[in-house]
């Protein structure tokens, strides 16, 4: 398997607060990598560094290298906008664009990147909604507002929106934390399906979820990467005492 990301000495700050310390890891292509760890350990900051979202927060700073497809995304002359087109993101709370229809929510990324051909847009909307397992539920209501859907549907709509611009990677920041168990199960099934063609990196608070959906798991604690490896190995035979204590629920 090939590495999609190679992260070298990644550090991140919010103002003076050092939130990620010297992270080194490789992330495999077309696999699901789960990022777990207690609150405030830097999980979310970590994935936000992978598509250069971290720096959009005032006072935020990054150092180190994130090599994506052989290119350092923090290198000179790299346009963060182009990085984000290749590396999509789904957020903790479903956030469809409020004034837009379901169709427009999915099509907007392409439209704003200059695609005007209605046929191409129609095809992209259908393909993305099908990929996100939402097409059958909304195909007759494409002109209804995106926010009229249920929470779980909204989150799948957001996944479709991210997929529409044809990224190679999907970053997911606790995508199920605002959803009920049934909606969560649907998203988890979807994540497995997406891993056939995409590199998925998912931050989760839910240890069982990491075990269910991921191929690799990284355990972060206080801004450091404590342990990283195959999910099976991490869960069955953790090398670090800290990892074992976290996985057995000793602290959370």
């Amino acid at each position: 398997m090939a590495s999609k990301f190679e992260i070298q000495n990644l550090n991140a700050w919010f103002g003076l607060k050092h939130v990620l310390k010297n992270i080194n890891m490789k992330i495999e292509e077309k696999a699901v990598t789960a990022i777990i760890g207690p609150s405030g350990c830097g999980k979310t900051t970590f994935i936000r560094c992978l598509n250069r979202m971290h720096e959009t927060t005032p006072g935020a700073r990054v150092s180190g290298r994130v090599i994506f497809n052989g290119v350092d995304i923090y290198g000179n002359g790299v346009d963060p906008v182009m990085v984000r087109r290749k590396i999509g993101m789904v957020f903790q709370k479903p956030n469809p664009f409020p004034m837009m229809s379901i169709y427009d929510n999915v099509a907007v990324g392409l439209k704003l990147n200059g695609v005007k051909d209605r046929k191409i847009l129609d095809a992209a909307v259908r393909r993305s909604l099908e990929l996100a397992n939402l097409w059958d539920e909304v195909k007759d209501d494409l002109n209804k507002p995106g926010v009229s859907l249920s929470g779980g549907q909204q989150q799948r709509l957001c996944i479709a929106r991210a997929l529409a611009v044809e990224p190679e990677v999907l970053l997911m920041d606790e995508p199920c934390s605002a959803l009920d168990p049934i909606a969560t199960a649907k998203i988890e099934a979807l994540i497995r399906k997406l891993a056939e063609n995409y590199t998925v990196i998912i931050v989760t608070h839910n240890i069982q979820q990491a075990a269910r959906v991921s191929d690799y798991t990284a355990f972060f604690y206080l801004g450091e990467l404590v342990e990283y490896g195959l999910t099976k190995q991490i869960f069955e035979n953790p090398k670090h005492e800290l990892t074992e204590r976290y996985l057995t629920g000793e602290f959370g």
Partner: protein, 275 residues
């Protein structure tokens, strides 16, 4: 049990007070509307909308020239005021933390507090003195009145758009400026349009700055460097005149002005109706 009855009583009393307050707030408004419609309606006929200001002795005449002049003046004022206001609003909401932004915000607050007559005198000194009493000078004065209103409502509206919406757009690989002018703007569209509307309504009713910079004009629009008739000024001048037919026209102008403002409002609402 006693407490419960006391609470019910207090609830009723407060409800009564709230309704009384509502009524006393609405009463002047409704009586103005009623009076303007009653007096204005009788003066309105076909001539009223197609004929310009009558001469003193002339019986037939209308406010067609004033409607034309008002629309042209407001139009030109909006042409200056809306883009400047929108842009400063975007600047304040997107770069609101910088020192320049703090200064700009403060100046807008000062500007919105300046009496409109002072702005009229400003336009007089700046434009009227060089090119004469003119639509250009009045439009400029009204634009200056509009700018802080449009700016502040735009800023407020854009700030109300949640960060999560901006982030969603930025994460899609949409550049920040496009995010602002499409996604963020469309989410805030209604509030912004309402702000523009309010400012248009406000300047449609301004008379003092118009009087100082453009003056009264009884004829049709004759160019930006000339004055034009104006509904608000019509009311001001006609109402103080001793002539019966002019006083009647003042009421008619008042009614038309109210209908104009109402019309803009309804039309724009219908326009922005979406989700």
């Amino acid at each position: 049990m006693n407490y419960y009855r006391l609470r019910v009583f207090k609830n009723r009393l407060m409800q009564l007070l709230v309704y009384l307050a509502l009524f006393s707030a609405l009463a002047p408004l409704l009586s103005i509307l009623f009076e303007v419609i009653r007096r204005g309606f009788s003066t309105i006929n076909f001539d009223f909308f197609i004929k310009p200001t009558p001469t003193v002795g002339e019986a037939r005449g209308g406010v067609a020239n004033a409607i034309q002049g008002t629309l042209i003046t407001i139009g030109f004022a909006s042409l200056i005021g809306v883009p400047v206001g929108l842009m400063s609003g975007i600047f304040l909401s997107e770069y609101g933390e910088s020192k320049l932004a703090v200064a700009v915000r403060f100046l807008h607050d000062v500007l919105s507090g300046i009496p409109s007559i002072v702005i009229g005198v400003f336009a007089y000194a700046l434009i009227t003195r060089s090119i004469g009493f003119s639509v250009a000078a009045a439009a400029f004065a009204l634009a200056v009145i509009m700018i802080p209103i449009v700016t502040r409502t735009t800023e407020e509206a854009l700030r109300l758009v949640p960060v999560s919406i901006r982030e969603a757009a930025i994460a899609l690989g949409i550049p920040r400026w496009k995010t602002t002018i499409t996604i963020v703007f469309s989410s805030a569209k209604r509030a912004i349009v309402t702000g523009i509307l309010l400012s248009t309504a406000r300047i449609a009713g301004e008379s003092a700055p118009v009087l100082v910079s453009m003056g009264f004009w009884r004829w049709w629009f004759a160019g930006l460097d000339r004055p034009a008739a104006n509904l608000a000024l019509n009311i001001f001048i006609f109402a103080m005149s001793p002539f019966e037919n002019w006083i009647a026209l003042a009421w008619g102008s008042a009614l038309v002005l109210i209908l104009l403002v109402l019309g803009i409002s309804v039309a724009t609402r219908a326009f922005t109706r979406g989700y």
